[in-house]
């Protein structure tokens, strides 16, 4: 008989660390992307914005305070090993962790009942946190956490296209979406795009694609090329950081897909702001775990990238 070490309490503690890390310490890939853009930017307005962004990131990480006052809506994407000992109680553990993190001031209470207008005060409520599960083989729990700001949800777009016009509508739709919302979603953006049979599948996969680190290309070379082509073209818009122009409108473009229906071509488009906040971890059934996302950390004098 195996000794199973992970407890519900242990899980709360791991989720707590993941949420706190995401809210206060930007992922290394996002920091890298912004820093490189700052160094090469020649447009003075854009450079000033990037400078303020980098300062903000460094203050947040050194003082352990939220990067942005809109600390977002909590999303969990989970790959659950079928032999991982805790299953149904994962949701309860995540909610408990959110309550604790909110109470300590690392998250602003952002969960509001749309009918009764009541803010729950602790970032939990009906369907919040939002959780997406994939059941996989093995006995590990892989968790991706993302907290998603309200402003960068505005551009979320679903296009239900005729299959013949699918790719044309996708190309136009992505550009139109970015132009329509301009500075509101706080560019430079990460843009997630997905094709699927149903609208819900397209939107979910587009959102999920934002979890992939900047610079990581799709394993399919054709899709990898599509990501880079779209990224290059989007950056010719010269919308730039907060709309002040320059070379960086998007930090990256991510493409994913599901098989579609012969008659349908659903296109999901989602964006994430420059303050893309996410963390990931692998949790073993014996209770041990590690953070699998890289973040910046304060080393006493400046910020460095630490795994």
């Amino acid at each position: 008989m195996r000794i199973l070490g992970i407890t519900e309490e242990g899980l709360v503690g791991i989720f707590y660390e993941m949420i706190k890390t995401a809210s206060t310490s930007i992922p290394a890939d996002v920091y890298d992307g912004l820093k490189k853009a700052y160094e090469r930017e020649t447009n003075q307005g854009a450079k000033k914005q990037l400078e303020a962004i980098l300062q903000d990131i460094e203050i947040a990480c050194s003082k352990k305070v939220p990067i942005c006052q809109d600390t977002g809506t909590p999303y969990f994407f989970i790959e659950m090993g079928e032999d991982f000992p805790i299953r149904a109680k994962i949701y309860k553990a995540a909610s408990e962790a959110l309550r604790k993190v909110t109470k300590e001031g690392y998250l602003r209470p952002n969960a509001v009942d749309p009918f009764y207008k009541k803010n729950s005060g602790d970032n939990t409520g009906r369907y919040i946190p939002w959780m997406h599960f994939d059941l996989v083989e093995g006995d590990d729990l892989k968790v991706w956490f993302m907290t998603k700001g309200g402003g960068s949800e505005f551009p979320s777009t679903l296009i239900m296209s005729e299959p013949i016009e699918g790719f044309d509508k996708l190309k136009r739709g992505v550009i139109d979406t970015i132009v329509k919302f301009g500075p509101l979603p706080c560019p430079p953006l990460i843009i997630g795009i997905s094709i699927a049979a149903g609208g819900d599948i397209a939107m979910t996969l587009a959102k999920k694609s934002l979890l992939r680190p900047i610079g990581e290309r799709n394993s399919d070379p054709n899709l990898a090329k599509m990501e880079l082509d779209l990224l290059n073209e989007i950056n010719k818009l010269e919308l730039g950081p907060h709309g002040f122009g320059g070379q960086l409108t998007a930090l990256d473009v991510k493409v994913d897909y599901a098989y579609r229906h012969p008659a349908s071509f659903a296109i999901g488009i989602v964006t994430s702001c420059w303050a893309t906040r996410r963390s990931s971890a692998i949790i073993h059934s014996d209770g041990s775990w590690e953070l699998t996302s890289k973040h910046i950390l304060y080393n006493g004098t400046g910020c460095t990238i630490v795994r």
């Binding site: 003075q44 307005g45 000033k48 914005q49 400078e51 303020a52 962004i53 300062q55 903000d56 990131i57 203050i59 947040a60 003082k63 305070v65 939220p66 990067i67 942005c68 006052q69 809109d70 600390t71 001031g105 602003r108 803010n119 700001g149 402003g151 790719f167 044309d168 190309k171 136009r172 550009i175 139109d176 970015i178 132009v179 301009g182 500075p183 509101l184 706080c186 054709n222 899709l223 090329k225 599509m226 082509d229 779209l230 073209e233 989007i234 010719k236 818009l237 010269e238 919308l239 907060h242 709309g243 002040f244 122009g245 702001c273 420059w274 303050a275």
Partner: protein
């Protein structure tokens, strides 16, 4: 030509008239927050002919809902970046007229109605870097007061901050009614047409 200014409140008409779109400003002095509900509350009071708890003449209005915690009976601002200003577009002209505010700070820009009011009453609109909540909080040195907290809650209440070198603020509407984002977004829309043309050539299937 982009100029950089370091200004103190109260701001006078002469000072704000010098500010042009694209200029960079840092503010020291008093900034007062108001989002949707604080705008409504303030205008209700003013329309009844009553006075606000603070005279806003010459001060800076900030579209912001901060993360604030109370420690040892004193408020501390943890994060305080700007919120989307366009939500206040329908009432900002009245707010400017009735309060004598000289600068509005937010994110994303504002529309024609506000630009006209700014021209008429000598005020400017400036953008603070969206999302930079920790940087903003660092420049807020003291919470002088907070109004309507019980009624509106932390993000919607009217906070009175003493700030030092609050910025960078980029002027995007000036006292001549020039609107930077209007010009900029037209350029972006033009670029978009070219890009959509060239994207037609790409094939990924």
């Amino acid at each position: 030509m982009v100029n950089e200014y370091h200004l103190s409140t109260p701001l006078t008409d002469d000072v704000v008239k010098k500010l042009k779109i694209g200029d960079i400003v840092y503010i020291s002095g008093i900034m007062v927050t108001a989002r949707d509900e604080a705008h409504e509350t303030a205008l209700e009071i003013l329309e009844k002919g009553e006075k606000l708890p603070i005279d806003l003449k010459g001060l800076v209005l900030y579209h912001c809902g901060p993360v604030a915690i109370k420690k040892d009976n004193k408020w501390q601002i943890v994060a305080a970046g700007p919120t989307t200003s366009m939500r206040m577009e329908s009432v900002e002209d009245k707010f400017i007229e009735k309060t004598g505010i000289k600068m509005v700070v937010g994110k994303g820009g504002m529309g024609k109605k506000t630009a006209e009011a700014m021209k008429k009453f000598n005020a400017v609109y400036a953008v603070f870097t969206g999302g930079a909540g920790a940087l903003a909080a660092e420049r807020i040195k003291e919470v002088k007061d907070v109004y309507w907290l019980d009624k509106l809650g932390v993000p919607e209440a009217m906070w009175v901050f003493r700030v030092e070198e609050f910025g960078p603020l980029i002027i995007t509407i000036d006292t001549e009614g020039n609107n930077y984002y209007e010009i900029r977004l037209n350029e972006v829309a033009k670029n978009a047409e070219k890009i959509k043309e060239s994207l037609k050539e790409y094939k990924w299937t």
